[in-house]
C-alpha cells in the first residue's frame, strides 16, 4: 500500500469517524447503537491484501482511539483492529466465498464488528477497565451485529466505487 493510498484511506476513515461521532451517535436506534465506523473498516479490510489490511486496521484503530468519548487507553483500538484486520486477511481465501453474496457479506462484516468489540472488551478487562455487566455488553455487541448486518450490504458497493477512484488517482500520479 503506497503512502498516497494510506493517506486517502485515512482521510476516508476520518470522514467516517466524524459521521459516526457527529451524526450516528445522535440517533437513538432500538436495541443499541450502530458503529458505521467499524463496519466501514471491516469492509475496507476485505478489499485489501495482507499488508494493506494490517496498515488499514492500525490507522483505523488510531483514529478511533482519538474519540474524545473513549475511556480506554490510547492504542487499545489500534491493537484490536490490527489483529482483526490480520485475521481477516490471513483467512481471505475462505472468506471470499462467504462475502460473494450480499447476505454473507452482511453477516461477515457484522461478525467482524462483533469480534472487534469483543476483543476490545477482553483487552479492556486485561488492562483493568470497568466494562459493566456481561449482559449489557452482550446486548451492545448483539445490537451492533444486527444493525451492521442490515447496513453492510449497502456500504460495500460505495466503498468499491471509492476504492476504484482512489486506485485510479494513484495510478494517474
Amino acid at each position: 500500500m503506497s503512502p498516497i493510498r494510506i493517506a486517502l484511506n485515512a482521510s476516508l476513515l476520518f470522514i467516517a469517524f466524524i459521521i459516526q461521532e457527529g451524526v450516528i451517535s445522535r440517533i437513538h436506534l432500538p436495541i443499541t447503537g450502530f458503529s458505521l465506523y467499524l463496519a466501514i473498516i471491516v469492509s475496507m479490510v476485505l478489499l485489501e491484501n495482507r499488508t494493506g489490511a494490517v496498515i488499514l486496521g492500525f490507522v483505523g484503530g488510531i483514529i478511533l482511539d482519538l474519540s474524545p468519548s473513549s475511556q480506554s487507553p490510547f492504542g487499545q483500538w489500534a491493537l484490536v483492529l490490527t489483529l482483526v484486520a490480520y485475521l481477516i486477511a490471513v483467512n481471505s481465501e475462505s472468506i471470499d466465498e462467504i462475502v460473494s453474496r450480499p447476505v454473507g457479506l452482511g453477516l461477515f462484516v457484522a461478525a467482524g464488528t462483533a469480534l472487534s468489540l469483543a476483543l476490545y472488551l477482553i483487552l479492556g478487562s486485561l488492562l483493568g477497565e470497568s466494562n459493566g455487566s456481561f449482559g449489557r455488553d452482550a446486548i451492545v455487541i448483539a445490537g451492533n451485529f444486527f444493525w451492521t448486518m442490515l447496513f453492510a450490504p449497502f456500504l460495500m458497493p460505495i466503498l468499491i466505487v471509492i476504492r476504484d477512484v482512489t486506485v485510479g488517482a494513484r495510478e494517474r500520479i
Binding site: I18, Q20, E21, G22, V23, I24, S25, R26, I27, H28, L29, P30, T32, G33, F34, S35, L38, L46, L47, E48, N49, R50, T51, G52, V54, I55, G57, F58, D65, L66, S67, P68, S69, S70, Q71, S72, P73, F74, G75, Q76, W77, A78, L79, T82, L83, Y86, A89, E93, Y120, L121, G124, L127, E129, S130, G132, S133, R136, D137, V140, N144
Partner: protein
C-alpha cells in the same frame, strides 16, 4: 478482492502491535501525549456535533418515540388521574407546608445551597464504538466549566465533567461502569457507594455492615472534599430492589436514577460552591437566638376594690 503478502505482512503486524502496546503503556503511565490529541479531536468535533444537533434533533429521537408511542398513551391517562388525585392532596399539603419550611432549614437538598451553575445543551452522545457512557455539552472552559465538576439535570445527578474544551465538554454519565459516587440514604443516613453498570440500573453497596436498605429508599450524593467532583445533597436515585444474599459483608441493592440519562437534553454544571457549603448547614454552629414569649392578656374579673364598690351617693343616683 486483492490478496497477497507473507513474511513482510507478519513483520509489519508485529511492528504495529508493538507500537500499539507502546501507546497503551504510555497512556497507562500517564504520559499526556494522548490527552492532547483527544482534546484536539474534541475541539474539532464540537462545532460539527452542535450543527448536527440543531439539524437532527427532531429526527434523533424518532425511533425511541415510535417505540414508546403505545406506552405514552397509557402514561397520559395515568398522569391525568394522578393529577386529579394530587389536586386534592395539594389542599391537605398546605397544612404541612409550614412544617416543611422548617425542615428545609436542616436538609441540604439539591439546588438549595446557592451553587452557581451553568446551563448547557447536550449536543452529542458517546460513540457506540466505545463502551463508555458520555455526553457532549455546549459549554466549556470559556463558560467556567472545569474538569471534575458535578453535572445535574432537573431531576438529579447526571454525571461529572471528564474533559473540557473552550466551548464544549465531555460529561461522564453516572451509568458508565467506571463511575462511582458516594451516596447517603435519606431515611437512615447510612452511606454507601453507587456504581454505574452500563445500563439503566445502578449498583449500591453500603459501607456500614449494620446499615440496611429498603425498597423505595431515596439516595442523595454525599459530597466530596471541596465539592469536587461531587456536591452534597443532589438527588441520585431510588432503591428498586435489595439483594438479601449473605455473600457480602454489607448490603447491596439495585437503584434507578432520577435522571433519565437516555433522554437528557439540558443539564447544569455546578461551577462553584457558596462560601458556606450546604453540608455545614446540617449542623449549624450555635448562635444567639431571641425568643419572644407572647403572654396572653388576663381576662378582666370583678374585684373588691374600693373604686368598684358602689357608694351610697352613687346608689342614690342610681335609684333616682
Amino acid at each position: 478482492m486483492a490478496r497477497g503478502g507473507g513474511n513482510r505482512s507478519r513483520l509489519l503486524l508485529v511492528i504495529l502491535l508493538v507500537t500499539s502496546l507502546f501507546f497503551i503503556t504510555l497512556d497507562l503511565r500517564g504520559v499526556s501525549v494522548t490527552k492532547g490529541s483527544r482534546s484536539v479531536t474534541q475541539s474539532f468535533l464540537a462545532p460539527i456535533q452542535k450543527g448536527v444537533s440543531d439539524l437532527f434533533s427532531p429526527v434523533g429521537r424518532f425511533f425511541s418515540d415510535v417505540k414508546n408511542f403505545p406506552s405514552e398513551k397509557n402514561k397520559v391517562a395515568a398522569l391525568a388521574s394522578a393529577n386529579a388525585r394530587l389536586k386534592t392532596q395539594v389542599l391537605v399539603n398546605k397544612d404541612i407546608q409550614g412544617q416543611l419550611n422548617q425542615l428545609k432549614g436542616v436538609l441540604d437538598l439539591a439546588g438549595r445551597g446557592g451553587y452557581r451553575v451553568v446551563a448547557a445543551r447536550v449536543i452529542g452522545h458517546g460513540s457506540s464504538s466505545t463502551f463508555s457512557q458520555t455526553l457532549t455539552i455546549d459549554a466549556g472552559s470559556a463558560d467556567g466549566v472545569r474538569v471534575d465538576k458535578t453535572v445535574i439535570s432537573e431531576h438529579g445527578l447526571v454525571g461529572v465533567v471528564k474533559s473540557v474544551d473552550a466551548h464544549s465538554a465531555i460529561v461522564l454519565l453516572m451509568s458508565d461502569p467506571a463511575f462511582k459516587v458516594g451516596v447517603r440514604i435519606a431515611r437512615s443516613q447510612s452511606i454507601g457507594v453507587l456504581s454505574g453498570t452500563g445500563g439503566n440500573s445502578f449498583a449500591l453497596q453500603l459501607l456500614d455492615p449494620a446499615g440496611n436498605i429498603v425498597v423505595g429508599d431515596t439516595l442523595f450524593s454525599n459530597g466530596s472534599d471541596s465539592n469536587t467532583p461531587f456536591i452534597p445533597g443532589v438527588p441520585v436515585g431510588v432503591v428498586t430492589s435489595v439483594d438479601h444474599s449473605s455473600s457480602t459483608l454489607t448490603q447491596t441493592a439495585s437503584v434507578k436514577s432520577y435522571s433519565d440519562l437516555n433522554n437528557v437534553g439540558v443539564v447544569s454544571v455546578v461551577i462553584s460552591a457558596p462560601a458556606t457549603a450546604p453540608k455545614t448547614m446540617i449542623n449549624p454552629s450555635p448562635r444567639a437566638t431571641v425568643i419572644v414569649y407572647v403572654t396572653p392578656t388576663p381576662t378582666p374579673t370583678p374585684t373588691d376594690s374600693p373604686s368598684a364598690t358602689p357608694t351610697p351617693s352613687a346608689s342614690k343616683k342610681a335609684t333616682k
